[in-house]
Symmetry: C2
DNA sequence: ACTGGAGGCTAACGATCGTTCGGAAGGAGA
DNA sequence: TCTCCTTCCGAACGATCGTTAGCCTCCAGT
C-alpha cells in the first residue's frame, strides 16, 4: 500500500471518529489530503472501502492485544493484561478504536457480517478468561462470569468516549482490575 | 403537543437509534408516518429539532431515575438503586437512551453545549454517590471514587449496545452492584 | 528516448438531501 | 353557515452527495 493511500486511511479514521461515517463526505476526506475529491478514486473504489479498512484495522489491533496475553499463569494477572492491552489500543489508536466501537454498524452486506463475527470472537476470548478463572478457583465459585466479563468489557468499550491521548492507560487498567477483583466494600460495612 | 407530533418524535427516536441521525433522512421519517416528507414541516422547523427533542427526553429520563434514589440510607443500597434506575431507563426506552448516548454529538451550537452540561451534571450526581460512600466509610477508605464511578457508569452507558428489551434490568443491576461491591476474587487466591 | 503507471485535475453525472410553498381537505367552535 | 386551525399533498427549490470520465503531469524502469 502506497504512502498516499496510508495517509487516506488515517484521515478516514480521524474524520469518521470525529464526525461519523455518514457525517463525513468524500469532499471532507479530499480536503484533508489537500486534493480534489475525484482524485481519491485513484486509491479507492468507494467510500465504504475506507470504513471497512479502518474497522478491520481496529479488529486486528484488539485481537493482537489479546494475543500477547499469556495462556498460563494466574488468571487475575491475565485479566489485568487483557485490560491493559485493550486500553492501550484505545489510547494509542483512538480514532481507529472509535470507528471499531461506534461506526462499524454502517458496514453493509458480508463485510458487516464478517466484522460482527470478528467482534463476537473477541468478546468470546475475553469472556473465556473469566470462565477459566472461576473453574480454576482463582475467582469465586459463585461468580457469574458472563456478567463479570460484560462489566469489564463494557467499561473498556466505552473508553473511547473518555480516554484522552497521552494518559497512562496501564494505570487505569490496573485500577479497574483492582476494583473488579477486590471490590469497594468498606471495612465497617456489614 | 399533539398526538401526531408525539408519533413523529417516537419515530425519530427509533430511526435515529437504528440508522443514526445522519443515516436517517426526512423521507425515512415521513415514510414511518405514512406521509409525504414535506408534510412533516407542519410539525417541526427542522430535522435537528427532532434530535434535540429526543436527546432532551433522554436526559430528563436519566435525571428522573436519579431523582428517585433516596438521599439517605446505606450508600451501597443507593448505588444499587442508581444502577437499577439507569438500566431501567435503557431497557424501557432503548431508542431514546441510544440517542442520548450515541447520537447527541450531532447536536450543534448552544443545544450541544446545553446537552453536554446536562450530561456532565448527571455524571457528577452519579459520582457523588461513590465519594460519599468513601467519606462515610461504607466504601473502602483507599477507594479511587472517580475510577469506581467511571467503571460503573461506563458499564451502564454501554448497555444500549447489548440490552435487549424485556429483560429484567433490576437483576442485571443487582449483579453489577454485587460485583462492584464484593469483587470476584476466589477464596483460594493469595 | 520511450513507456507505463501513479497521482491529480476539471467537469459533470444522476441521485438524494433538507426545506419551502401554495393549495386543499376536514373537523371544531362560533 | 362561516371561519379557523391542523394536517397533508404535490411539486419544486438549491445544495450536496458519491462516483465517473477524460485528460494531464511527473517520474522510475527499460
Amino acid at each position: 500500500m502506497s504512502a498516499r493511500r496510508s495517509e487516506l486511511t488515517r484521515a478516514a479514521a480521524r474524520l469518521f471518529a470525529e464526525k461519523g461515517y455518514h457525517g463525513t463526505s468524500v469532499g471532507d476526506l479530499a480536503q484533508a489530503l489537500g486534493v480534489q475529491k475525484g482524485s481519491l478514486y485513484a486509491h479507492i473504489q468507494s467510500k465504504a472501502d475506507l470504513l471497512w479498512e479502518v474497522a478491520s484495522e481496529g479488529a486486528a489491533a484488539f485481537h493482537a492485544a489479546l494475543d500477547s496475553v499469556p495462556d498460563e499463569g494466574p488468571v487475575i494477572d491475565r485479566i489485568r493484561a487483557a485490560l491493559r492491552g485493550h486500553l492501550r489500543v484505545v489510547g494509542e489508536q483512538l480514532d481507529v478504536a472509535t470507528v471499531f466501537v461506534r461506526e462499524w454498524r454502517y458496514l453493509e452486506g458480508e463485510r458487516r457480517d464478517a466484522f460482527v463475527a470478528e467482534r463476537r470472537r473477541y468478546e468470546e476470548r475475553f469472556r473465556a478468561l473469566y470462565r477459566e478463572g472461576r473453574e480454576l478457583g482463582e475467582l469465586r465459585a459463585d461468580l457469574d462470569d458472563a456478567t463479570a466479563a460484560l462489566l469489564a468489557l463494557s467499561a473498556v468499550n466505552w473508553a473511547y468516549a473518555w480516554l484522552r491521548p497521552g494518559v497512562d492507560t496501564d494505570a487505569i487498567a490496573d485500577r479497574f482490575t483492582a476494583l473488579l477483583v477486590d471490590g469497594m466494600r468498606g471495612y465497617n460495612t456489614p
